[in-house]
Structure formats: structure tokens, C-alpha cells
Subunit: 134 residues, 2 copies
């Protein structure tokens, strides 16, 4: 499996508009897209820095994964996503090595990427995602 | 303030040797340095991916910041570090904008970088670090 770079860092926030202000006005980044991913019950905002994006995630439903994460751990980094070549074969290799997959096969995520999550119980506590732009 | 890229992602782990195995054997990265930072009561391991590093952090003391973090939140992403040009002036600008600084002026971190942390209460829950290689 060949990871290319860190595609994005997903950050769970309570109020996406307040957080966008921080990343724009304080850190000087530029939000280039806001997108709702109904499937994941989140509203997302994207910033680009080098070859990595910052993806802010606000829950649109307290019972969604981000709502539950914030209830348990508070705001903070929710996941790390790696850009990979050949996501299907990467998932097969990981499963062979005993990694617990949340997604057995890729599904569509934000920005039209093929994505799949690995379970944090298999990744030393960091919810990890593979992404591929096809 | 001009951020250049994400310098590293700091990840709190219970057992650095077990976690190194995950990043090497499963994700295919290569640990290129292990360093103890006595000041921070941590042992660190570094991996490079694109222009960003992954920094694993194992506490060498349960009362150190990583030990306390894991006790409270479990293993996971501890901080995000941004590469910046002109760290002293960046800190002055941030303080002017009302950001709470953990380090009023830069100090030496791992790999000889000048570093300073911003308080997560000012950064929407993400402990954030500025770094500069001088």
C-alpha cells in the first residue's frame, strides 16, 4: 500500500461559522468550499494548506457521528485521511493484515472522493480514512 | 501571518513501539527518528509523508501533558503544528487578536525547531502549535 500524502485532517466543531472565522481571520487560511454530506449528517468546510486540507465538521444531527464525538470528547481532531493509490486493493491488504474496516468497500465522500474508514480500535486510537480521487 | 504547510500532526499513544509497528507494517511509512524531549516528558517517533510529519508521543511520566491527555481522552490526535515564517511576529499578531498563548515566546522543541503552543480554548478545541526552522 502506497500512501501519497495526508489528504485532510477532519476536525469536529460545534459551530462551523465560528470555526471558519478562526481559520480565516486568525490563521489566515481561506475557506474554499462548504458542503453538506447528508449521509454522514455533517456540514463541512474546507481549507487548503500545502498538500493537505483542513475539513471542519459540524453535526447536522446530535445522533450523527460528529455529534456523538463532540458529546464524548469535545471539539477536536476527529480523523486523519490519507491519499492512496488503489483504494480497493489497499483495503484488501489492510483486511488481510487484521485491520478492522468500517467500510468494506469505498463509498462517496465530500468532494467526490472515494473514501473508506478504518476502525480506531485497529489504528491506535486515530480514526483513519483512505481517500482516492478517481 | 503566513502559514506554509502543516509541519506535523502530534499523536498521543500509550506504547510507542506498538504504534510504530502500525505506521510501518500496516501503513507502510518509515520511522526516521526517535527522540526524547525531557522538557515535555515525552518520547517521540517521526514519520514523513508529503510535506507533513507524523509525530507519535509516548509519555515518560503519567503526570506529563501526554500522560494526562491519554487519561482524559484516550489515545488520539493531540495537536496540529503549522510551519510559519517569523514565529515571534506571528505570536505577537495572535496575542493582539486575543488568542491565548501557552508559550509567550518560542522555545526549542523536537528536531531543533522553534515552537510555541496556542491554547485550545482559543482555537476551537484543537491544541495548535507554530513551528519555525531557523
Amino acid at each position: 500500500m502506497k500512501l501519497k500524502h495526508i489528504e485532510h485532517i477532519g476536525i469536529a466543531v460545534k459551530d462551523i461559522n465560528e470555526s471558519i472565522k478562526f481559520y480565516e481571520d486568525i490563521l489566515g487560511l481561506k475557506c474554499y468550499a462548504i458542503e453538506e454530506v447528508a449521509d454522514q449528517k455533517v456540514k463541512t468546510a474546507f481549507f487548503k494548506l500545502g498538500d493537505t486540507k483542513i475539513e471542519l465538521l459540524e453535526s447536522t444531527d446530535p445522533e450523527g457521528p460528529i455529534g456523538k464525538f463532540i458529546e464524548k470528547k469535545g471539539e477536536g481532531v476527529h480523523h486523519i485521511a490519507y491519499a492512496v493509490e488503489g483504494i480497493e486493493s489497499a483495503l484488501a491488504v489492510l483486511e488481510d493484515k487484521g485491520i478492522r474496516l468500517i467500510d468494506q468497500k469505498p463509498r462517496k465522500g465530500a468532494e467526490g472522493l472515494d473514501i473508506a474508514f478504518l476502525h480506531p480500535k485497529s489504528t491506535h486510537g486515530v480514526l483513519s480514512e483512505l481517500c482516492e480521487k478517481k
